[in-house]
Amino acid sequence: MYNELIMDYSKLKKYKGKIEDATKVEEGKNLSCGDEITLYLKIENERIVDAKFEGIGCAISQASANLMIENIINKSIDEVKTLIDNVYKMTRGEEYDKSVLGLIVELKSIKDYPMRIKCFLLAWKTLELSFK
């Protein structure tokens, strides 16, 4: 799990922080460990034009959040929903469309760690909430 790419993405600063003129702010919590995330989305014409997050968490959750944001900026809401769907399939060990996920597939072995899936999914669940 802890390969170089994951470690690098866990330390990434690029997507950490607040977006002052965000159009959507969503908070997520991981009840098992107390980790929290605040996700800022700037959506224009059904398209995510910018995204950032604040919060603390383990390397897996931070890498996952950074990879998520990298993969949703400049995508339409519909494209992001397809992305989320494929991420969930990957975590459940089901067939998924690799071409949609890009570098996120580096975290595919998360399906073998039931206790870490919550860490991995914290950002994704929060993103999904923001569309409800």
């Binding site: 460990c33 107390g34 980790d35 968490g57 390397a59």
Partner: protein
């Protein structure tokens, strides 16, 4: 070290995880199960099992006798009477039972005060907080004043109150602190004293009479026995008057359309078919521990704790929570600055075969206390927790320490 070599009783310890032998340091969550206990329980299921207290046939008689023998042994173990031993599903159920029954019986009333601490795990915290909202009693909290969540006896004196109930752990599941129950009792001679013994009983004989404990709760899965079975000791003067928490079969005497009457103790509090195998297995676990000796087990666990605390002192940027003296027993919670506990726990398992727990340990109020004193660059609202039991060794701790050092190198902290 223990005088007996018991490692053969725990075959799982010879397993390897990705090439490393298992180092099991998660006994505070649940202990491993010894083969002699499993073998006896297997024999019971294969040769004796039937439902209890109802039928007259041979298997029912044997099962009933074995279940009641377990009750008798736990009563002797605690210096209680057999009718004061109630089998529940565990500590959480026991505490919920007490709180709800005290309220239903109007022993705990609106505006009464319950005193507990910020060190409690959720089982002895949430029922009080939640039911105080529904029933109007008041909950006061003792705040630990010593290092990282360590309670001082003086902390209990700061509260100028006369609590109806004092509900306290005997041994913190996070800081590893042993609490002096005798002193607490002396401070509150007239309160109903409830002791959460979940972490205490696995290594300490408690005499409920001499300590004047009114209720004591613990779970058998933390003392080598099956999960889903717990012991609730209650002073008969309370049990006689308390309204039961669960209604149904076995706890009943006469049932009519107007009202019902209840069975005698302890059956009044044991509705439904009990966890028969769990109760029988609980006795086998107790016998196994008695055979080792509780004093010897405790000394071994204290020796390991002292050794671990010394080793941790030599690692930079690591915070160890709880006391640093001999009141710290068997449970060592820590954080490495800059690395999340989940990452530490995951890597300890994957690279070194070391099983530790990470998270808030069902003690969120205590996490806030630790956070207030922490010097970490960012407190993660959780900790890593290594916990030791009779099957652990100094070598296990050495492997843990080496693992922590390597993980620090990988994360460059």
């Amino acid at each position: 070290m223990l005088s007996k070599n018991i490692l053969n009783d725990f075959p799982v310890l010879s397993r390897t995880i990705k090439g490393n032998r298992i180092v099991y340091l998660d006994s505070a969550a649940s202990t491993l199960k010894p083969k002699p206990v499993i073998d006896k329980l297997s024999k019971f299921y294969l040769e004796n099992y039937a439902n209890v207290h109802r039928a007259v046939h041979t298997l029912a008689s044997e099962s009933t006798q074995m279940l009641e023998f377990s009750r008798k042994n736990y009563a002797n173990f605690l210096n209680a009477s057999e009718h004061e031993i109630i089998f529940t599903s565990g500590t959480t159920m026991s505490i919920n039972l007490i709180v709800e029954s005290l309220v239903r019986s109007k022993i705990l009333n609106k505006d009464d005060i319950v005193l507990t601490t910020l060190v409690e795990h959720h089982a002895n915290f949430v029922p009080w907080v939640r039911l105080s909202k529904l029933h109007g009693f008041r909950v006061e909290f003792v705040e630990p004043s010593l290092r990282f969540g360590t309670l001082a006896i003086e902390d209990f004196l700061k509260k100028d109150i006369n609590p109806k109930v004092v509900a306290i752990t005997g041994h913190s599941n996070v800081t590893g602190q042993l609490i002096d129950i005798e002193k607490i009792r002396n401070i509150f001679p007239n309160s109903i004293l409830i002791v959460d013994g979940a972490q205490l009983i696995p290594h300490q004989r408690i005499d409920v009479k001499s300590l004047d404990i009114d209720f004591l709760c613990f779970s058998v899965h933390k003392m080598l026995g099956p999960s889903g079975i717990g012991v609730l000791y209650g002073k008969s003067q309370y049990l006689e008057t308390l309204e039961p928490f669960l209604y149904g079969g076995e706890m009943i005497d006469k049932v009519g359309v107007e009202d019902v009457t209840f069975n005698v103790l302890p059956y009044k509090f044991e509705a439904g078919t009990p966890n028969i195998g769990g109760i029988v297995g609980a006795n086998y676990a107790l016998e196994y521990l008695k055979n080792i000796g509780f004093d010897e087990a405790k000394k071994h666990i204290l020796d390991l704790t002292k050794y671990a605390i010394e080793k941790f002192r030599n690692i930079e940027n690591v915070e160890v929570y709880g006391p640093l003296d001999e009141s710290h027993c068997g449970i060592l919670s820590f954080n490495i600055d800059g690395i999340h506990p989940h990452d530490v726990a995951h890597l300890l398992d994957e690279k070194f075969g070391v099983a530790v727990r990470s998270g808030h340990h069902c003690a969120q109020p205590l996490m806030n206390v630790l956070k207030s004193q922490s010097r970490l660059s960012q407190f993660p609202n959780s900790t890593c927790r290594a916990s030791f039991y009779i099957y652990n060794s100094y070598e296990d701790i050495d492997i843990l320490i080496e693992g922590i050092k390597k993980i620090k190198e990988w994360f460059d902290v």
